[in-house]
């Protein structure tokens, strides 16, 4: 059930014909367009337009830069309903060689565990040497899916990556990681799952002819649970360990919201609050 | 700058105060930052020595063109509504007005 460590030979990515690189992207509500639902007073994500998760552009750039260095192919994948092909088109427009939509009614309602399981089976199915993901998604931002994919397949993982440095001669990928209080440089055996830090890469603009092709003539692969050998009750709502037990609106902390004109006035107020001596 | 025509403060319903400042208005427009300005002066010298009227500042509906300290206007391009007034108004044709690239800049939902 949970992905056993696959018996991959260590020198999976030989240098000549380059690496098989997979970029996992996601379609999310456009956070700039998420308005407030007047009656519930809560963020109304339902009818905000769906767009490519912004951190995933860094992932696509990282994936394409690896291919530019060592050759091979970049395939974009996304898990979602048929409308999610828009984000695959944007990935192909940016330069990905191919794309696959992982779509099946059985996947609906999956939390981190089954989602990373389905994606793990997909990247295994595609024989990936390197899997690149965005650090987080703007709608759930847990950042747990990339490590989940690596764990399902028993592959190496590199998170909070600010720079990638492929080492084809060693069959490894080195990366500069942002860790508490500084940085480290880590080399990982292939296959490896990389989560790139948001804002550290310069996503390249899509070429004119590639954008035309991606939006009008390109057809992504479609992979269902059967194609991936996934049993329906290993994914979806009931295979998800966590569920939402309840929701309550948060009472905002009430603040004075007093405007003061001069520093002296502010310091007097702070002195009255007893937070500074004056 | 002549004062606003003196309009009697008639309680005929003065416009709702809270949204008539320019900041409030610009707040209602979506703007994706293209990263660098699509507006510039062609030759700063022309503004510094040659210009007295600063029509670009007068006509701009979004206060993008502002007093510059050395006589050359500074440009708050992130407020630009892409109307093009500054380009036509400059008596010396010294405004470099280009389109923001790849869908950036202003995006009107109503328009």
């Amino acid at each position: 059930m949970s992905g056993a460590a696959t018996d991959r030979d260590p020198a999976a990515g030989d240098a000549e014909d380059g690496w098989t690189i997979v970029a996992a992207v996601k379609q999310v509500p456009d956070s700039d367009e998420v308005g407030i639902d007047p009656d519930t007073g809560r963020l109304d994500r339902a009818n905000a337009p769906a767009v490519l998760n912004a951190p995933d552009r860094d992932a696509l750039e990282a994936a394409l830069s690896i291919r530019d260095a060592v050759g091979g192919t970049v395939t974009a994948i996304t898990m979602g309903p048929p409308t999610a092909t828009d984000v695959l088109e944007e990935a192909v427009a940016m330069g990905c060689d191919d794309a696959a939509l992982v779509t099946d009614r059985a996947f609906a309602g999956s939390d981190t565990w089954p989602t990373s399981y389905a994606l793990a089976e997909t990247v295994d199915h595609l024989d990936a040497d390197v899997v690149v993901c965005g650090e987080e998604t703007t709608d759930s931002s847990t950042g747990q899916v990339p490590p989940g994919i690596a764990a399902h397949n028993g592959w190496a993982q590199l998170t909070y990556v600010e720079g990638v440095d492929p080492l084809p001669e060693e069959g490894r990928l080195a990366a500069r990681r942002d860790v508490e209080g500084g940085h480290e440089r880590v080399a990982a055996d292939l296959p490896v799952v990389v989560a790139v830090a948001y804002g550290e890469f310069e996503p390249r603009p899509a070429g004119l002819h590639r954008k035309l092709y991606a939006e009008n003539d390109f057809e992504p692969m479609e992979l269902t649970a059967d194609d991936l050998g996934i049993d329906a009750d290993d994914v979806g709502m009931d295979a998800s360990p966590t569920q939402v037990g309840g929701m309550e609106t948060v009472e905002p902390v009430d603040r004075e919201k007093e405007t003061v004109e001069t520093p002296a006035e502010l310091l007097d107020a702070l002195a009255d609050e007893g937070v500074i001596a004056r | 700058m002549s004062a606003t025509p003196n309009v009697p403060n008639v309680d005929a319903g003065a416009p709702s105060a809270e949204n008539d400042t320019l900041e409030d208005r610009l707040y209602t427009v979506r703007y994706d930052d293209p990263g660098e300005s699509h507006l510039d002066v062609k030759i700063p010298g022309i503004c510094a020595e040659g210009c007295t009227t600063y029509d670009c500042i007068d006509v701009c509906p979004a206060n993008v063109w502002r007093e510059g300290d050395d006589g050359v206007p500074n440009i708050a391009y992130e407020n630009c509504l892409e109307c093009g007034s500054c380009r036509w108004a400059c008596p010396k044709g010294n405004v470099e007005w280009t389109y923001p690239t790849r869908g950036a800049g202003v995006s009107y939902k109503k328009g």
Partner: protein, 456 residues
């Protein structure tokens, strides 16, 4: 690449796709003129690429608020278009700083479809729908891509466009330039000389909503169902001492309020555009209509108002110019029409290109039917008819925008003065007040003669 079962019937991905000469025509700009040209050519079987620099068609477009659809009706099914209200009332009012004198028309027939082909719309929604009709007719829409220049053959023929994207050049036999008033590409390619400030108006506009309760618009503007109004305002109370006017148009549940006036006036002592808008909104005759309103969106635009004299050469080898980019806007104070002209020019240009394509020709002469038919159409007829009016309004600006509004208001007040004096005295006072401004009966007659063109 693994070849699994379901992947077989999908086409293999192409490594280096090229669309050079894959399209017969490239349309620059998916506004009204661009989409009209695109839908026309697509209906004629041409392969059309419609390039829009905004995130979606309409993202870069602002306008007053009324769409005139006589030509549009021939191209698409207007009844399924996202329109706001049909115009059931046209109202013209003269504002001095605190008076208003107005004339209002509510012809019964405007309540019946096609409602005098006049609807308020919001461009952010309408342009997206209109471009979609072109796509449904077979055109390909490409957004978030800015055309930065034209491709020219050695003989000067235009054979494609350059864009701001990598590998951004694409060739095609025909290019339709529908880039709007800020026609950087046409100017950059020396297809037209840049306009003068005198021929340009700056427009500022707000879309307002009434948050407390719905039905406010219907109550305040005396409307039923989806009828709407188109109010035009002139005089000092609208735009100070500039040449131009203000407007209020009712949308479904919002109101478009704004004004447009000569850029050369804006550059003078006139207060800043948004201050002028504030003054207009707080005019005693206007403020009650907008009480409790809140700004949904603010916008600004420049409008080409040079009239027929500033319409550039419309056809070139391999290219045609349409819509605002061709200066095709009629604004003579009484009529404010650009949308119908944009659609008409886009449509006629589209048919000319399709006709040329059928004969395999790309030289300028092959598109002759476009300027010729435009000449005979209402577009040029109206421009030429009112060409004289703008100069005359310019010379009489103090009379028309300052003195007349006061005179009319005072004369009205005199004529209907309620006191214990006989009516004869009030009528005489009113007449005196008017004659004082226009220079007696002879002055009034001269003025009427001077503007006879409006009615002849």
């Amino acid at each position: 690449m693994t070849d699994d079962a379901d992947a077989t019937e999908r086409s293999e991905p192409i490594a280096n796709p090229s669309y050079d000469d894959a399209f017969d025509a490239i349309v620059v700009g998916a506004g009204l003129a661009g989409s009209a040209a695109a839908v026309t050519m697509a209906d004629e079987g041409l392969d059309v690429l419609l390039i829009e620099r905004g995130r979606y068609p309409g993202a870069k477009n602002v306008f007053g608020g009324v769409l005139y659809t006589p030509t549009l009706r021939e191209l698409v099914d207007v009844t399924s278009a996202p329109v706001e209200r049909y115009v059931a009332e046209k109202r013209f009012s003269m504002l001095s700083d605190d008076d208003e004198t107005a004339v209002s028309l509510r012809p019964g027939e405007w309540h019946d479809p096609p409602h005098n082909d006049s609807y308020t719309v919001l461009r952010g929604e309408f342009d997206r729908w209109f471009a979609e009709q072109a796509v449904e007719a077979g055109a390909v829409l490409l957004t978030e891509t800015t055309v930065t220049g034209l491709v020219r053959e050695d003989d000067g023929r235009i054979a494609g466009v350059e864009t701001d994207r990598p590998d951004g050049t694409i060739t095609a036999d025909y290019v339709v330039l529908a880039e709007g008033g800020n026609s950087l590409v046409s100017e950059g390619a020396d297809l037209k000389k840049p306009e003068r400030a005198e021929n340009i108006a700056v427009g500022v506009k707000e879309v307002l909503e009434f948050p407390e309760r719905d039905g406010v618009i219907r109550d305040r503007f005396r409307l039923s169902n989806d009828a709407g109004v188109s109010y035009h305002y002139f005089g000092e109370g609208a735009v100070g001492d500039a040449v131009g006017g203000g407007f209020i148009y009712t949308n479904e549940d919002t109101v478009s309020v704004g004004l447009a006036y000569r850029l050369s006036d804006a550059a003078g002592s006139q207060p800043k555009p948004e201050q002028t808008l504030n003054a207009f909104k707080s005019h005693p005759a206007v403020a009650p209509l907008l009480r409790g309103a809140r700004t949904v969106e603010y916008g600004a635009k420049t409008i080409p108002e040079g009239g027929s004299e500033s319409v550039p050469e419309l056809v070139h080898d391999g290219a045609v110019v349409v819509g605002d980019a061709a200066g095709l806007v009629l604004n003579n104070g009484v009529h404010l029409e650009g949308t119908n002209m944009a659609v008409e020019s886009g449509h006629l240009a589209g048919e000319a290109v399709a006709d040329a394509a059928e004969r395999g020709r790309t030289d300028e002469a092959a598109f002759r039917s476009y300027p010729e038919r435009l000449e005979e159409s209402f577009v040029v007829q109206n421009l030429e008819r009112y060409g004289w009016l703008m100069e005359r309004v310019e010379t009489d600006r103090d009379l028309i925008f300052e003195e007349l509004p006061h005179a009319l208001a005072d004369a009205g007040a005199e004529y209907f003065r309620m006191d214990r004096e006989p009516k004869e005295k009030h009528a005489e006072e009113a007449r005196e007040r008017l004659f004082e401004t226009v220079g007696g009966l002879r002055g009034a007659a001269k003025l009427a003669y001077r503007y006879r063109g409006v009615l002849r």
